[in-house]
């Protein structure tokens, strides 16, 4: 009996929070869209993603395999995938940044 009373008090508190805090209302919205969102919000996942910016995996064996495959069929374009590239993705020469051939002047300098 007391358990049920407790639950309804909590529900009341949450309702109050939604009215009182716009931030909490936004949190409820987010959790509704992404129910599996991590329990440690600002924590390790976000930080690790930040630290791994720019990381690609490159292995000469995979590279040669990919080159061979390219002759037979088109590889899916990975350019759209700006998020973490795991070991599953095989970078090709096209994915790597090209060294600038010539200096293109900044448009601010005109």
């Amino acid at each position: 009996m007391s358990g049920e009373v407790q639950a309804s008090t909590e529900e009341q508190q949450e309702m109050q929070d939604t009215v009182v805090s716009p931030e909490k209302a936004e949190e409820v919205k987010l959790k509704a869209r992404y129910p599996h969102l991590g329990t440690r919000p600002g924590g390790s996942d976000l930080l690790r993603k930040r630290l791994q910016k720019g990381q690609k995996y490159f292995d000469s064996g995979d590279y040669n395999m990919a080159k061979a495959k390219m002759k037979n069929k088109q590889l899916p374009t990975a350019a759209a995938e700006k998020t973490e590239i795991t070991g599953d993705h095989i970078p090709t020469p096209q994915d790597l940044p090209q060294r600038k051939q010539s200096l293109v002047a900044s448009k601010l300098a005109f």
Binding site: P22, P41, G42
Partner: protein, 447 residues
């Protein structure tokens, strides 16, 4: 012109805009840093394409005081190139994260520019004369046939059109495993610091093959990582003191006299949080994106996602002033998280006499926060207000309810138009505001 009041008794007028007008912005043209030098005569910008453009203020025409001094292109060069670290399988962007000027010591100007991994010291020097009258060479450089030389002459220096040359004098490599977010020149004018996500290094400007690690917050087990370094700066006068901010909204002040390794802070600045207000977004929006000491060295300013805070260096437990930049965004945090805007890193800056601070927002809006008069104004950098000496009109955002005339509703704001980088002339009321790919220069209205 004095630095004067600033914020609200000052009327700001359009002066100049640099960059292309078209809406199709190439990624390389995205401005990533803006910085005046110590005299304000030079204004440097860095972009995502690794290029630096330096503007110089034209010397004012004393006979025509109405004529506003303009900034014109002085020098431009490619500072950094894209790289691929094959050993670590890491793509290194050429984007210039920060530019910091050295105080001028001689005729040449020096600046430090950095991307994610490498810091470079650039010398910018003028050449306005060249030697002429060589005996063995023609003026165009071709060698003369020695047999045709019958007389000797002494080469002389003759004036030539001004040429500004930029040359890399030092390259500071391999100091950082993680991505560099800040550089700061020490008041001793001999050393500087560079900070990445987990470490801060101290360098000597002359020495490129060694640097001294002063802060290391990398946990033994990376699974335990809870916060990263977001910005760092040396104190403007005390060469032993620097601060660094974190993704958890704290600032640590370190004294290099206390110990060689400054893992233990001398002061910890943190505003206590109301636990009942805590939400999923709390930590993310508390992350400090910029920290700047005041010119007088008594205060520091921090910028987090929604506010600007002024801290007295003698008081650690709370800021002395808090200003809301765009509080109306608090009820939009869900969509701002989804479109990644919640991670945007806004910078902030002080005016010359520390009475007004400025920071950017969305929709090409920027905010002037007057500390002395406790007033604030929102202005816009747009092509519509580009008429010479046109006074900028204050802008207002309607958070909800009935929208008044001249107000813009929150839902109409363009979140792709971000002003992340702004700079204030050290002495005068001249500001440089960077939109995505344009640099606006505004000046105080002179009657």
């Amino acid at each position: 012109m004095s630095a004067g009041g600033g914020g609200n008794d000052v009327q700001w007028c359009f002066s100049q805009v640099k960059g292309a007008i078209d809406d199709d912005v190439a990624e390389a043209d995205i401005i990533s840093t803006v910085e005046f030098n110590h005299s304000g005569e030079l204004l440097a910008t860095g972009d995502k394409g690794g290029r630096v453009v330096i503007f110089q203020q034209e010397t004012e025409n004393k006979s025509q005081p109405q004529c506003r001094s303009e900034y014109n292109v002085y020098s431009t060069f490619q500072s950094h190139e894209p790289e691929f670290d094959y050993l670590k399988s890491l793509e290194i962007e050429e984007k210039i994260n920060k530019i910091r000027w050295l105080p001028q010591k001689n005729a040449a100007q020096f600046l430090l520019s950095t991307n994610d991994k490498t810091i470079k010291l650039w010398k910018i020097s003028e050449r306005d004369k060249r030697p002429e009258g060589y005996n063995l060479k023609e003026e165009d450089g071709r060698y003369r046939d020695a047999a045709t030389i019958t007389t000797l002459r002494v080469p002389v220096f003759r004036p030539m059109d001004l040429m500004v040359e930029a040359s890399p004098r030092r390259v500071f490599v391999n100091g950082h495993t993680y991505h560099i977010n800040s550089i700061s020149v020490n008041s001793d004018n001999e050393t500087y610091l560079s900070a990445d996500d987990l470490r801060i290094n101290l360098w000597h400007l002359e020495i490129t093959d060694r640097s001294f690690n002063v802060v290391d917050i990398k946990p033994a087990n990376m699974e335990e990582l809870t916060e990263v370094i977001t910005a760092a700066e040396f104190h403007p006068h005390q060469c032993n003191t620097f601060v660094y901010s974190s993704s958890k909204g704290t600032i640590r002040l370190c004294d290099m006299r206390a110990s060689a390794l400054c893992d233990k802070h001398s002061k910890l600045f943190e505003e206590p949080e109301d636990p009942s207000n805590r939400s999923f977004f709390s930590e993310i929006i508390s992350s400090i994106s910029d920290v700047k000491f005041s010119h007088n060295g008594r205060y520091m300013m921090t910028r987090d996602y929604l506010s600007v805070k002024i801290w007295d260096l003698n008081m650690e437990n709370r800021p002395v002033e808090t200003y809301q930049v765009h509080e109306y965004l608090r009820s939009k945090l869900c969509s701002l998280y989804e479109n990644d805007c919640i991670f945007d890193k806004f910078e902030c800056c002080w005016n010359g006499n520390d009475s007004v601070v400025m920071t950017g927002s969305y929709n090409n809006f920027f905010r002037m926060l007057d500390r002395s008069q406790r007033r604030d104004v929102t202005l816009e950098a747009s092509r519509e207000s580009c008429k010479a000496r046109q006074v900028l009109k204050p802008r207002r955002v309607c958070a909800g309810g009935k929208r008044k005339k001249d107000e813009i509703s929150v839902d109409s704001l363009d979140f792709n138009k971000k002003i992340l980088h702004t700079a204030w002339h050290p002495q005068e009321n001249i500001i440089a505001v960077a939109t995505t790919n344009n640099l606006y220069i505004f000046q105080e209205k002179v009657n």
